[in-house]
Symmetry: D2
Subunit: 357 residues, 4 copies
């Protein structure tokens, strides 16, 4: 199951050390100007080697479109694209041919399929998310025409977290620091902490928060296919994601109905809510307020430290990562979260075109 979406759909392909990572976008409306520079800039946000707190692997990740575009516009035909792999240190992984790295997908792939491409994690590598960033960028180009904006940022890195929510920060500052935190002071602390962890050969996880603004009322399906269920499914398909909440999240679990219900009022003929503990979604359907949600990421499981494990015969052994790895996925997860959100919102938008006659 390498296809995501109902109308706007991405079929993703590729392994870390194969020839290419890529995908096919189907169901994209015709007539959209394909701004390749924008798409590449989104990929650059995801790319390794962009700062001292990400892996120093220098991957250019240049996207090449193979189909579906004519004279610079989408035609309704499937949009295939590839990002050719390069700078592959496959030999760094030779020792993993028959060893299962703790908390990686090595063992489960081997058990499920009886075979696995062990080089760089193969299909389970986070390089797969390149395809999502491309498809998400295309989705953003469509959503732009609806004035829909999607902004994700790092809200917690290990123990260091932002106290407020998205309204408390200037999100235009997110891209001004390597950790992608909109609060410059917290960003400094986060970076310092990540570097310290990196120097210890260890890793951390954290939380990416995301807000979607100017969402029309009516997106999302009532029972299955609720807007937040689609977002959760999208977010939890990202490597290392371990949790999702929206609106009133886990932190608000202690509150009472009378504290969190969102009172309706009318503003210039538009029905609004005074608070937004619903996170912009009621009964699975967008209500016109900002959609916001959080995604929890576990620490990167690849450590530059000895770890006990077993090989495929069940023999005890020790594994220690070689190669170049991220101490923390958060900065590079931010554009991936945005990309998946863009795909979901566009898909729900297109689907909603069929709800009334």
């Amino acid at each position: 199951m390498n296809t995501f979406g109902k109308i706007f759909r991405l079929t993703s392909f590729g392994e870390s050390h194969g020839k290419a990572i890529g995908g096919v976008i189907d169901g994209c409306p015709s007539g959209i100007v394909l701004d390749e520079a924008f798409i590449q800039s989104e990929l650059n946000r995801r790319r390794p080697g962009q700062s001292n707190i990400t892996t120093p692997r220098d991957e250019k990740d240049k996207v090449e479109f193979l189909s579906g575009i004519f004279e610079g516009k989408t035609t309704g035909a499937p949009i295939a694209f590839a990002i050719w792999n390069a700078d592959q240190h496959s030999k760094d992984y030779e020792n993993l041919r028959s060893v299962f790295r703790p908390s990686h997908a090595d063992y489960t792939y081997e058990a499920k399929y009886g075979i696995r491409d062990y080089r760089g994690g193969g299909r389970s590598s986070a390089r797969e998310t390149i395809a999502r960033v491309v498809a998400g960028a295309v989705a953003k180009l469509v959503l732009r025409q609806l004035d829909i904006e999607i902004s994700a940022y790092t809200s917690q890195a290990g123990p260091i977290k932002l106290a407020g929510n998205y309204k408390d920060y200037d999100l235009s500052l997110t891209e001004t620091n390597a950790v992608r935190c909109p609060d410059p002071q917290t960003a400094v602390e986060m970076e310092k902490y990540i570097l310290q962890i990196k120097n210890e050969g260890d890793t951390i996880g954290g939380v990416v928060s995301c807000v979607v603004k100017h969402v029309p009322v009516g997106l999302g399906e009532p029972v299955f296919g609720k807007a937040h269920a689609e977002l959760a499914s999208a977010m939890l398909s990202i490597n290392a994601a371990h949790g999702f909440d929206y609106g009133l999240g886990f932190d608000g679990a202690e509150k009472r109905g009378s504290e969190v219900n969102d009172e309706f009022y009318s503003e210039n003929g538009v029905i609004r809510t005074r608070t937004n503990n619903s996170g912009g979604i009621q009964g699975g359907i967008s209500n016109g307020e900002d959609i916001f949600f959080r995604v929890l990421f576990k620490p990167v499981p690849t450590l530059l430290k000895d770890q006990k494990t077993v090989d495929s015969q069940g023999n005890e052994t020790v594994v220690k990562a070689k190669g170049r790895h991220d101490p923390c996925v958060l900065p590079r997860a931010v554009p991936i979260v945005e990309a998946m959100a863009a795909m979901v919102v566009l898909d729900l938008y297109l689907l909603n075109k069929t709800s009334k006659f």
Copy 2:
């Protein structure tokens, strides 16, 4: 989109005050003995009026099977079922015809479809989950043959929460109290708190935890369709659900990789992990350890208190629930969480049959 699942699929139908709630189960393997008493007992766990902390609405919720069963067994044909609605106090809702209850689906349904059945929430009513409990019970009957067991329980009700995880409690005690908490002492506190909240006309939310035992290795798809993404999508399709995490959840966001990685070892030829921060899922695929996850529920939005809101013309008004309502969904959400989990695990099991030749 009222269909859930890829192979084992439920199509759900019905409104709170319509003729019936029901569904069609498609893709159920043939030859399964349909234990109707068991299915009814699962429905009884969900049914209103079962204790003093749930709504006193006395709904029998008796399931009637319409197809797909022959001489007591499934035939591979679609299994349709209906639960006939009764005890409808539709007049209790007449005042809601043109008023939008805060944090309900009234406004978004109206905006999306231009029409809504306002009686008892119509399609957005939690009565829809009856269909899920039936389908989940059928799925459990299949999973039984694989010795797979699913146990959910209330782990947090408002501010009162269990300190430990599922291994710290005897889950067979879950059904011994009205709140469905496996720790009898905490259960007493939770019940007391819920009653107090109820008396104040208010409501609370909380958390349901769930564990799936004896899961075979290999369930779940690598990229989209990851086991935890499917579970998240399932859980967040339940009314009032606002969050999901698995394994190392939001509470562990501060931990380091070296603290949470799950070391592999071999136990009598079976590859196991010493810890289970992965929650039984690695790379989206079950690794044979227990799958465990949490579902966050917001407080019931229906209050027996005045709340400010607007009507469909945007005029300010006040709404106060009549009728009989739950102060807290958790006790009745427990069997629904189990049902959705059963559907997901069976679906992944059937899909996995196609992964190797």
Copy 3:
């Protein structure tokens, strides 16, 4: 796989001698007036016992809607319906418990599922098509608003066939005779022939032709999901259907490109074709001309004659139908063909709403 369609979807259920035949329609646009009298009239066209050339089984086939309708209109919620079975002569089928009727689905169901409801064919009974007629009638109510008209008719019954195509006849005459042939004189011959075959305990097949008028340009997807491929899939899902062609059919296989190409011209600013050998579909997409196609039906396999066969142990035996059966499915297939066509055209219409921005 008991669900048909992508956006407008029917999930069908029920066995010939079970409690009910029914279905769930999902994805129907909201706000459509559900004209129950019209839907029932469509069912009456399919119903047994309507003439001396159909089975004398007297089934009322009264549809009951269970959900999805509020104050007479569709709400966007799933529309469930049931037709309760009655007048069941299950005992007529007791002898078929372990005998496989030639050219029926008895053997393949038994082999596939290891169990089958043998009464009246169980799930393989043509009674299942009741669900399609209901869903098709709902689709017709939607298509009416687009002025799209669907007309099927019997064009060949055994060796007796119409010489011309749909343009040569007054299709309003189709319902004036029992065989549903728009040419009154041919209808008389067909009826005479069917009665003769019936008296011999034998059966015949034939061809149903269908035309869809006023189809907007643009319906159908270019590669998979071509309009004619969807129609073929729909038609060949009808019991006893063995073939499908559209536009220039099998009869025109000998013609040259220069004879059959459809020349374009402009008529008051609308681009039209002078001939319509394309059957209203070019490159899988409707071009605004009439869509027309044919469906081949094999003879009913149930004979009132001795036929050699085997039982489930492989022992030779003889089977002769008891009960009341159609000598020819064509008259009752006509409304089913229309129903499936309506579902396909509406589905393609809704899907096409997403093709441009």
Copy 4:
């Protein structure tokens, strides 16, 4: 909708004069040896320039696999592939920028999407079928392990047709002549006729027949997803296909039930039918006999003759093909029909794994 299949799925991409034609195969079981030489040989059967009765365009159509293969075997990951376009005479098509060729997809694409890649038909070009041949070849590699064999051949070219069915010919002779007809004498006549037609600047259509041997009992779904409905949908998605029948086809429409019913008997404990008018499928499910069906192809619409038409403004004009075109698609359609059949049969096989527990 550029994805075909439920479990074994092809997502196809590419335009005639774009960078590449290709696809992504998802759901292929792991552990299959990817015999690239075989796959290329299948592509060579489809490739232009292979004989004097096909287009002289010399396209190498060399497939390049981009993912999903490790050490020569499938891994369960998606298998992406591309065939790079070359030898493009795009200028041959410049005159078609705003002209609609009769009986082509030019007008409908333009109307549906508001934009089209007019070069060589763009997405509507039969070059798209390259992707199907590759995916079909992969499917054949899997089916080989089940001993399932698929053989298609030209059974009618214009007015010249084979009198018998597949049992009357030695199908191993199909590849011995350019027209792919298993009867050498008829093949000579067909070739002569096609050359004559070609010299006149005209084109013809005809019929491809196909037989699938050694199909296990039980493939196909009972109601929607019947084996023959899936085959029909697959075949009618091929460019220029206009009809499909199976078993007793249109030619047998005049026969009686007593003439065509397939009597069961037992042969060494295996239940067989003495005749096979059911075409190997009963109730939508394979019965173990040979599956056979026919596909009707219309004449190629591209003529080397003047044809009247209009441009996108509705102005009358004349179009005459330049470039190199097939006078008859049949020889090259044979491997495409086989490829689609292989995909359908494998898909049904995989799906059937889930039908019993």
